[in-house]
Symmetry: C2
Subunit: 485 residues, 2 copies
């Protein structure tokens, strides 16, 4: 007994000492590559880089290194490959599936200092940015061009991170997701080599040239390569914008109205559903005075001559589904107030229960299945006695149930897990997907197998193994290479 | 001398006899798999499957096999893998880069008998088809739903083939290319396994679930897998359609007008440029009476209330670039006559020179570079004394110079090659791509290296080698695996 106790303790101590020594050696080597100012090993910086905004358990990296250039990234990856050390790219840490945690330790590669807008081609409606430029920073930079980058996941995420997770958000129903808006990427591969996914200088609107590497690297969550630059489509700021709010007597009426609006072909710019819990949370957090009822937030983009017609069609449709009210928000201030409240739902939901952590489901289904799907979610939240608030990009068939949990209540966390699994499987049964925009991260690896089946997952593994044979790029995310390969 | 002559001749004879014997054995084995009626070895059927519509040299396959089901395709691929025999998928043979030729012999896998529309979900604007369904067949099938599949490469191509080459055409400026319109694919991989690229049952409008396999298989030209089914987005047939024709005094004025229309954000549905040679050929072939001048064909899709406004904006823009005329084609018959003529340009160009073969360039550049690019092409055609006619999907920055050559005049063919290379390199210099919609096939493999550089090409090779380790899937297309890997 004495022996069996003493060995593990000394093992643990030796392991800890080795890990600490190797962390120090890592940091020293990395300082030689990128300079002292770009390497951090303090507990606070490492902790800050150990987690995203979700309830997924954080794991601290051994070192945080701040890249200032693509050359830095290439050298860091080459070094990590030589040492067989994991590299985890980090943008703003606003992800929701644990994509930036470091379960195997290693080097967190923070790209936030790569924050330059490299070019704006207003006449071609495109721009090229470094990976660390945020969505808001880009829109501020280009505000005098009459153009915008409309993809809006809520958080002020980095554009590199948005590429890596295939983000979308409220505007996707009109402007598409990152998949449709990324024209080219600069990527550092697992051996440190640098590629451009759509040609060395390519920024044409379409191409059939070779394999579509761009869309292989959009959504790969840092597991196939580190995105260092992105060429993005820009869109004209609309001449006229009109918003509206429509509360309904029940959720099914609101969702049915959405389905009818989408099927009419109206080019709605945003159409967001909030259940009554969510409206209530918004009222409290954002000091609004909305009717507490299942509600649609709508926005229309167009010309001065057609914007009112768009609004009227939506109004008629909502009224035919017996909405309780249909109120236009014509003034910019009122519109901004509404969308700011919409964007703060994550924080509004957390504010209901101090000290809580949130988890957001992210299923997406064909639009015709949406009423049944949201009703199903509502029933299950009640059955499992969870605090769940529903918010959805319903025009795309995508919605989130934000579950507010006590991070110390393991029984409650288990119910959240059960709910997420039940919901995802129901979405698959309805020809949907387990994630419309958040990605897989650490949270949905098992469900991914349900979605794709063994041959599909095997295809992903073949690609991962071919492009990252040492499994150093964000290991343990999307697919587990060690298990069963 | 005698010895050195006699050995090659006996070698050739032996090789021929071996190849013939192995072809017969292949056919016998394949008949056991798919039945006698689905295997052809006659010279005429093999010749018909040896080439597409381009001037690329045809190479006959050893056997042509007609798959009737995904199960057939899987079994055929498994069999070919066991024998290390190439498998070349074949749709309608309307490609333009030699993608269906069989330079290494092997099995041509004709998918035209997989011609069932499997499902139409009108309320979700999607459908699922077998790979052999043609574009026209689908649109005929769904004509009562109020929906259409608008992607229109001109030829009545199979939808599987359009997925495989990432086709687009005249409507892409409004509705996107295949990349934006394919939601899911069923693919048979090199080992015969069957995957669905966006989940086993997935047909949601967006997804961030795992690697984007769908867009890896769109545009892979049969080199990574055989596409057997496709789930496609459908679009509402517009309430109102308006077409217009605008001849200009010179090509630069016409292209500058296009750039201005695109930059205004007008949601034009088609905007096609024809140079004066092309207009002349259309007049002759399609019995039209157009002014022989650089010309834009335009089309607008919208509602009865906004269609005229769209047309007026385009008219004002064209007039500001001093168009010679601007004539609306409001009647359906006149509109169809124009677009039929547009679709027949390939044949109209060939009719100028009986017995000729055509080659079409396919560069695509950012819209701001388009006037210089088309002018450059025009100058080079004249300098090299070629018969070249220019036609373009200019709203996307994509245009074709159709070169009409005497297939027996090797000196002329060399000049065509030189022209295509010069044009592609100029497009790359202008941040464009060597192919907007035709793909690489056998014709542009060297230029692909110029476009992507060695690390980019190497990434494609890694993926090809990982997914098709025996190099049996359409070998010799897109990239050469044997060379330099």
């Amino acid at each position: 007994m004495i022996k069996s106790r003493s060995i593990p303790i000394s093992n643990i101590l030796r392991k800890f000492t080795q890990r600490y020594a190797s962390s120090q050696a890592l940091a020293t080597d990395l300082k030689n590559i990128v300079g002292n100012d770009n390497v951090a090993t303090t507990a606070s910086v490492r902790e800050q880089h150990s987690h995203d905004e979700s309830y997924h358990a954080g794991h601290v990296p051994d070192v945080v290194v701040f890249a200032q250039s693509t050359d830095h990234v290439s050298k860091i990856v080459k070094y990590c490959a030589s040492k067989r050390v994991p590299v985890i790219p980090f943008g703003t840490g606003t992800g929701l599936e644990g994509g930036v945690t470091a379960p195997k330790g290693g080097v967190c590669l923070d790209l936030s200092r790569m924050d330059k807008v490299l070019s704006v081609n207003a006449e071609d409606f495109d721009c090229t940015v470094q990976a660390g430029v945020t969505r808001n920073a880009l829109n501020t930079y280009i505000r005098d061009t009459g153009l915008q980058f409309p993809i809006d996941p809520g958080a002020n995420a980095s554009l590199g991170g948005m590429c890596a997770t295939s983000a979308s958000g409220t505007m996707a129903v009109r402007y598409g997701t990152m998949r449709e808006n990324v024209m080219n990427l600069e990527v550092v591969l697992a051996d440190g080599s640098i590629i451009k996914t759509a040609g060395l200088k390519g920024r044409s609107r379409k191409t059939s040239s070779g394999y579509n590497l761009t869309n292989l690297f959009v959504g790969q969550e840092g597991t196939l390569g580190i995105i260092t630059e992105a060429t993005l489509k820009l869109h004209a700021i609309p001449e006229a914008v009109l918003a509206a709010v429509a509360p309904f007597k029940d959720l099914r009426a609101a969702v049915n109205a959405t389905v009818a609006i989408m099927q009419s072909g109206l080019p709605v710019a945003r159409i967001e559903f909030l259940d009554e819990n969510m409206v209530d949370a918004c009222n409290r957090f954002s000091k609004l005075n909305l009717d507490v009822a299942p509600t649609l937030f709508l926005e229309f983009h167009g010309s001065n001559s057609n914007i009112e017609a768009q609004g009227r069609i939506a109004e008629e449709t909502c009224k035919s589904f017996e909405c309780l009210k249909f109120t236009f928000a014509t003034e910019t201030d009122r519109r901004n107030e509404l969308w700011k409240a919409r964007h703060n739902v994550w924080y509004a939901a957390h504010a209901l229960r101090p000290g809580s952590k949130g988890y957001s489901t992210d299923v997406c289904v064909p639009i015709s299945a949406l009423p049944d799907m949201i009703q199903f979610a509502d029933n299950e939240v009640k059955r499992l006695q969870l605090l769940g608030l529903t918010i959805g990009h319903v025009g795309d068939g995508n919605f989130h149930v934000i579950l507010i949990v006590d991070p110390n209540d393991f029984e409650e966390i288990k119910r959240v897990h059960d709910f997420a699994t039940i919901l995802a499987k129901e979405a698959l049964r309805m020809n949907g997907t387990i994630t419309g925009e958040h990605g897989i991260g650490v949270g949905k690896k098992q469900l991914l197998i349900d979605e794709f089946g063994l041959h599909g997952i095997n295809t992903m593994k073949i690609i991962k193994k071919a492009l990252d044979p040492l499994n150093i790029l964000n290991p343990g995310k999307i697919i587990d290479i060690e298990k069963g390969f």
